[in-house]
Amino acid sequence: DPNKEVIPGVKRGDTIIVEDPTGAITNPDSFNIWTCWAGGNGGWSHGLQQLGLDTLWLIDPDSGLPHKGEKDNTWHNSLAADRPAYNKDFTVMTVKLKKGLYWSDNVEFTAADVKYTVETLAQNPTALFGPQFKTDVKSMTTPDKYTIVFNLSAPNSRFHRNFTVRWNACWIMPKHRFEKDLKSATDLMTYNFNPPLSLGPYTLKDYDKNGRWYMWERRADWAKTSINDFGKPVPTYVMYQLDLPNDKKVIAQTNHDLDMIHEVTPEGIISLAKNKWETNWFQGFPFGHPDPTLIAILPNNARAPFDNKDVRWALALSLDITKVALASYKGAVTLSPLHYPPTGTSKKYYFDPMQGFLKDLSIDTGTNKAYKPYDTTIAAKIGDMVRPQFGDAVPKDATRLAAMLGQGWWKYDPKAASDLLIKAGMTKKGDQWYKKNGEQFKITLFNWGTGNPTLQRLGTMVAELWTAFGIETTALSAQDNGTRYGLGDFDVNMGWNIESWGGNPDISFFADSMHSRFYTPVGEVHNGRNQVRYKSAELDNILDKVNVSDFNDVGKSAALGLEFLKLTAKDMPTIPLMSYNVMSSQDNTYWTGYPNFDKPYANPVTNWANSRYIFTQLKQMLPPTK
């Protein structure tokens, strides 16, 4: 019923209801996105970063939309008028800003806002980006209202990263408002920024004091924001719903009370997909959208025996990836043998070019000097396994299947894995493996928590497979896994380590943190980087080259990326598994036009900033009667 009121004065037919997967927000009154604790409290993606704030550039993780002033759909000059421009030695970055953009209180956005943001943050050591700006920015000048020049303290070809959003970046503060509310820059840490001032197409209309929903209303002057490059956002209202248990999401969407589900379990999607009015990224199997993030098995490279490449390879070859795929995503996976998510434009830049290398790649298993571990039949195998359930939705054509499920992965070869372990000095007694020192080889696997069923299932399956192989593995979903992971007190962690820009092949976004600069010995608390404690001179070398290459030189970026991928494929510091497939679901009753595999103009996940573009592409189905 489009005339039903969602909240007083807001009709259902004018509102798109969207899930924010963050979980209940514990500090619902705070819209201060710049403090550290905001990160843990999650008060970001309830519309604030999608609809309310803006920064210089956005990268779309998918193919993006055509828009004014750019030929690359994935790159959006948002507040900036052009791409970042560096001087020769990358010590100065100059940014031209767009004209005619206004805050929601009708104050114009200018270079002063950007300068103020950087300066304020630099004075707060516990602010996000604060320490970066303090160390990296020597000074700033604003030659005119629409230009800002960053003088950097050291050569840095990727400084613009701080203002480039794929998932998150430094958002710009409204100087006039902050100056009024903050007595000193350090007040920022307890400032609530409530109600938030918007630089995006929507303003906050109302929100739940318990942090369960946020209602945004389209600005009358939405054209004075950067969204104008794409067109008018269609829904008058956007409502974000938080903290819904999986089963409830399905019920709510079935009742047409929730238009966009960020994700549910594969089973949830399968039951939702039975409805005519429902769409997914893939219409039918494999449903989900592959995130530009990579799920991987993360062994502790600083702890024996995981410091041994052969052991890491053995762990990979003892996994029957088809079972992992089935247990987690019911087969709806996009596998990756590379240290890169198999999503966005990566097929073009990396996965196709790497096939030859992978097919030729050989390792020494001790008994076989040139063992070829790559297996291109995996997609077909998974296809055969799931076809009985999903029928024609699972294509028979090998290339199409590979595009869906991934071009290949490592062989399931317990024999080769055993050889590798023997090569590493281990022995098998009975059906259990024993380390060189005679101890039984046991692994405690830090698994995902209950909050993410699909991935928890994945970790459990990995543990089961290793146990079956003779390495007793306990999957542990303990609360302090993270802390122990941070301390280096772990065997193997399941998690994300690598995320890409999605639309852009540059690897600096994630790979930087694997630089040995950030290496911390076991027992010492890490500082948020290089948690797998990997150290490689070759890798450092590649990363140093990235740092002095032009970001806009995509060819160069991709070449360096390929070097990185070859190195990590051989050395296997982590065991990449697959992209994080987000089982999102959309209800077409009130709105249609959501992105999908055939129209991949945006990532359909609801919590990313780029999801703002979706609203410009929707079509209203049931407008309320006036």
Binding site: D247, T265, I270, S271, K323, A327, R457, T460, M461, E464
Partner: protein, 287 residues
């Protein structure tokens, strides 16, 4: 004993139901030792099959046969519950009976300790302890913890019974017979406390297994070891309730309800049987 059994069997429907449930539980537990599959082994059978002659309770999305998985789950949950119930019973009996009988400062001290346990918020403490013990956590430790948290209220109940028994003349007779305290407590008072003990045991069993299920649903137990809670946990992780695999939820729920309703009815009928008044009447006395 045998007479009592046949008598109960003939006259009490509750008892018959209870025995059937217990036999069912025992058979399940015994069968678990002969299971053709490892308890959590994935893809051992076809996934997502509804109940059929082949898979009595159906199969899970992970290709596990639910019938066989339930044999393990019931075994583990019962072992857990029974150990918890027994341990907490032992504490409750000692504290309740001695505290009630001895009285004085002994009683005061014990009851203060008892009250401290009574007021403890159980779930938070369990959660905390769970985090504390993390990978060392297994069902045995957990039943120890539950036992520690689950005796206090029952000890109070037992104590109040003993307090009134102490006032009865035969207790004084027992004193003047020269009986030592231990004997008075266990020989003279125990038969009266038995019914309370029995029903609190069943309650405690239910409570502890319920707690285990709650913790499991939150994913805080060892999820690689099947219990009733763990089976439900994995069903939830596969959204079985709304994805059509109803049997995945139904199997543990029906088995639990059946077994525990059986236990309860059994306890009701046996309790009536061991009630002093009933026993008196059976021996031919007017109660």
């Amino acid at each position: 004993m045998i007479n009592a059994f046949t008598g109960l069997w003939k006259t009490s429907g509750y008892f018959r139901f209870g025995i059937v449930a217990v036999v069912f539980a025992v058979v399940m537990v015994v069968l678990s030792f002969f299971s053709p599959y490892k308890p959590m082994e994935s893809y051992a059978v076809a996934a997502d099959a509804p109940p059929s002659l082949e898979n009595w309770f159906g199969t899970t999305s992970r290709g596990q046969d639910l019938f066989w998985q339930m044999t393990f789950a019931l075994r583990n949950s019962l072992a857990f519950g029974i150990i918890t119930a027994l341990l907490s019973r032992i504490i409750a009996i000692f504290v309740g009976m001695y505290s009630g009988y001895k009285g004085g400062w002994f009683d005061k001290v014990l009851m203060s300790v008892n009250d401290s346990f009574v007021i403890m918020p159980v779930l938070p403490i369990l959660l905390l302890l769970n985090f504390l013990l993390r990978d060392q956590m297994n069902w045995f430790y957990m039943s120890l913890m539950m036992a520690l948290l689950g005796w206090a209220w029952d000890a109070r109940l037992i104590r109040s019974q003993v307090l009134s028994l102490k006032e009865r003349v035969f207790s004084e007779t027992a004193v003047f017979c020269g009986m030592p305290t231990r004997k008075i407590i266990f020989r003279e008072h125990m038969p009266y406390v038995l019914p309370v003990l029995f029903s609190t045991t069943i309650n405690n069993l239910l409570w502890s297994i319920g707690m285990e299920v709650t913790l499991s649903i939150l994913g805080l137990t060892n999820l690689n070891n099947p219990t009733i809670g763990v089976v439900i946990f994995w069903a939830n992780q596969h959204q079985a309730m709304i994805s059509g695999s109803w049997w995945w939820v139904a199997a543990p729920v029906i088995v639990t309800v059946f077994v525990f309703t059986g236990f309860y009815l059994l306890s009701v009928s046996i309790n009536e049987f061991i009630d002093p008044r009933t026993r008196l009447r059976m021996k031919g006395g007017a109660a």
